[in-house]
Structure formats: structure tokens, C-alpha cells
Amino acid sequence: MMTKHLEACHLARLSDGAAPGEAAGHLKWCVPCQRTLADYVWLQREIAAALEAEATEAPVASPDWEGVRSRLGEAPRERPDRRVMVAMAVGLTVCAMLIAPFSARGDLQVPMMALDAPSTAPAPAEATGVATGIGPNMALSNKHEGRTRRALLPFVPPPTPPEQGA
């Protein structure tokens, strides 16, 4: 036999139709618990009545269909936007994951910098070509693209082309 009183929450649940289980035995003889349970049953009815009264006399505005209609034209449709956003987010994440290892190793720097000592002096390049990495050096640098890390040489300006007629 349970000698301890039932908890308030337990009684509140019982008042709303929860199965009593072991509590049934206690409730048969415990007057204080019976009273509390009766309180909750009464309270339920009063809550319903109070809310109903409140709702009935609530200051309900008159319908404003025009307000809704005018906003409907400008309301964004959420579903397609969300899908596109999710797809873009996934795409960006995948891209970032693919690029991150290269970026961390510095392989994404201008490729012409990663040159092993060339056996012959490279052909002179136009100034703009050197600066942007577009020019004859590209072929060499592409050849050296790989997964192995190598020391990056400091930038050395290409040799001055021999003067004509020298």
C-alpha cells in the first residue's frame, strides 16, 4: 500500500483520463489525494468555461480580406526558395570541402611560382603575362602540378631578352 501522497502532476494527469495504475489503490483510501483530484477535475471544467467566455467576448476585429489579398501578391512562396537555398548550401559545402585541402597546402597559388630549377632559361614573357601567370611559363607550371608538396621559389624576374643586333 502506498503511504506517500501522490504528486500534484500525477493527480493532474489522472484528472484528465490518464490510467491510474498503482495509484488506484492509494486513491481508494487517501482523502487528501481524493480532494486534490476532485480539485483538478473541477479546475478543468472551469478552465474550459473561462476560456470559452474569454473567446466569446474577445475583441475580434472584422475580417480584412483586402489586407490579405494585397499581401498575397508580394508574399514569397517558401517551398521552392527553401529547396534552392538548401541545394546551394550543399553545393557550396561540397565545393569548399574539395577546395580546402589544396588551399591549405598553397597549391592554389599562382602555378608559375612552383618551378623546379629549369635547365634552360625560360623564354621571356611579356610583363602582363608574368603578372597574371598567363604566358609561356604556364606549360611548365602545369607540368609540375601534383599532390607532392614542394618548396615554392621566390619570384625571379625573367632574364632580359638579348638586344637585337648585339
Binding site: 502532476c9 476560456l51 475583441p59 475580434v60 476585429a61 508574399a75 517551398r79
Partner: protein
């Protein structure tokens, strides 16, 4: 059955952009939506704003409504309750005292007419006390109480709307009732003390 069929028909037409059907749906559910929003927010203007938001969202995303899962009102109610909760969160709603609400004319003003004024007054006092005590209940528990005892929803439905488990919904309702009872007991004690003091003063 006929009513359901009409609603589905109206929704089908509304989906294709028929504004007459949209308007019919709006007018059919506006009163119920307004009352529920008012009970949850306890503010007429906030309720009006939230109800409009909910309808705009519902009509803008009508293709998401699945008649097989429930009535339009069931779906709209989920949207509405969610918006009410967001609104409350944003506003960190101040618990407005009953006196202030009364001064704004936003509470039940007069007890319903009755042939027995004493009984009517008793009922009015009880309702007023319960109404006042409901203000002291935590928002989560209050939402659950409104959905359970005003909307008359099953715990499964409450759980779906509030985004929690059945057991959590049951707990919220139970906690709400415990808070309410505690509050009412305190008030009753205070009333008894006040009456006792008045009686003593009268005798003295």
C-alpha cells in the same frame, strides 16, 4: 460530408488562384482563428496581425496542404499557433494585468444574464479568478491548456502543433493545471483572510 466536400472544392479552386474561393475560406475560418490567437496572445492587435500573417502564409503555400492529413482548419491552426509563439517570443510579451486589460475594455465585461443574480455572480467570480490565474501560467503550459480545453484537442494533436512528444504535451497540460491550482489556492487563502479581517473589524 457535404461540408468537407465543399471545403476541398474551395481549396482546389483557391489553389488555382481563384480569389473568390480564397475569400470564402478566409471568411469561414477568420473568427475561429482570431479567437484562438487572442487566447494565446491576449492582445487584440497582435492577434489580428498574426491571423493575417497566418492566412497570407496559408494561401501562399496552399500546395503544401494535404487534405489526407486533416482538415484545412487543422493545418491553419498549426500555422497560427506557431506564429503566435513566434510573436510572443519576439515581443517577450509583458504580462498585462487584468486591471489594465479591463481599462482597455478587453475582458469579459458583464456576467451573462441569469435569473439568479447570486449564482451568476459566483460563476463570474470563479471565471474571473481562473482567467486571472491563467495569466500566471507559463506560456508553454498556457498554450497547451488552451489547445486542450478550448480547442478540445487530443494530446497527439497538441504534440503535433507544439512540436513535442505526446508525453511532453501531457506534462505541459498537467503542469499548467498545477500552476493554476496553486495560484487559485493562494488567492482563495488571501480572500478568506481578507473576509476574516473584515468580519473582525465589523465585530470590533
Amino acid at each position: 460530408m457535404n461540408e468537407e466536400w465543399t471545403e476541398i472544392k474551395a481549396i482546389t479552386r483557391a489553389l488555382s488562384g481563384d480569389q473568390t474561393s480564397q475569400r470564402k475560406i478566409y471568411e469561414a475560418y477568420f473568427p475561429a482563428a482570431s479567437r484562438l490567437a487572442y487566447l494565446l496572445l491576449r492582445d487584440g492587435m497582435d492577434a489580428e496581425e498574426v491571423v493575417q500573417d497566418a492566412f497570407v502564409y496559408a494561401f501562399g503555400n496552399l500546395e503544401r496542404y494535404d487534405a489526407a492529413r486533416g482538415s484545412f482548419w487543422t493545418w491553419l491552426r498549426v500555422i497560427l499557433v506557431s506564429r503566435c509563439r513566434n510573436k510572443r517570443r519576439r515581443k517577450r510579451i509583458a504580462r498585462v494585468s487584468l486591471e489594465v486589460l479591463e481599462s482597455l475594455g478587453q475582458t469579459p465585461r458583464d456576467p451573462e444574464p441569469s435569473s439568479d443574480p447570486a449564482n451568476a455572480l459566483d460563476r463570474w467570480d470563479t471565471r474571473r479568478a481562473v482567467y486571472k490565474a491563467l495569466e500566471s501560467v507559463s506560456p508553454g503550459a498556457r498554450d497547451a491548456l488552451v489547445l486542450r480545453y478550448y480547442e478540445g484537442l487530443a494530446y497527439r494533436e497538441i504534440a503535433e502543433i507544439l512540436g513535442c512528444s505526446n508525453d511532453a504535451a501531457r506534462s505541459r497540460v498537467a503542469h499548467g493545471k498545477v500552476q493554476l491550482r496553486r495560484q487559485l489556492s493562494g488567492e482563495a487563502r488571501q480572500l478568506i483572510q481578507e473576509r476574516g479581517a473584515a468580519r473582525t473589524a465589523g465585530v470590533g
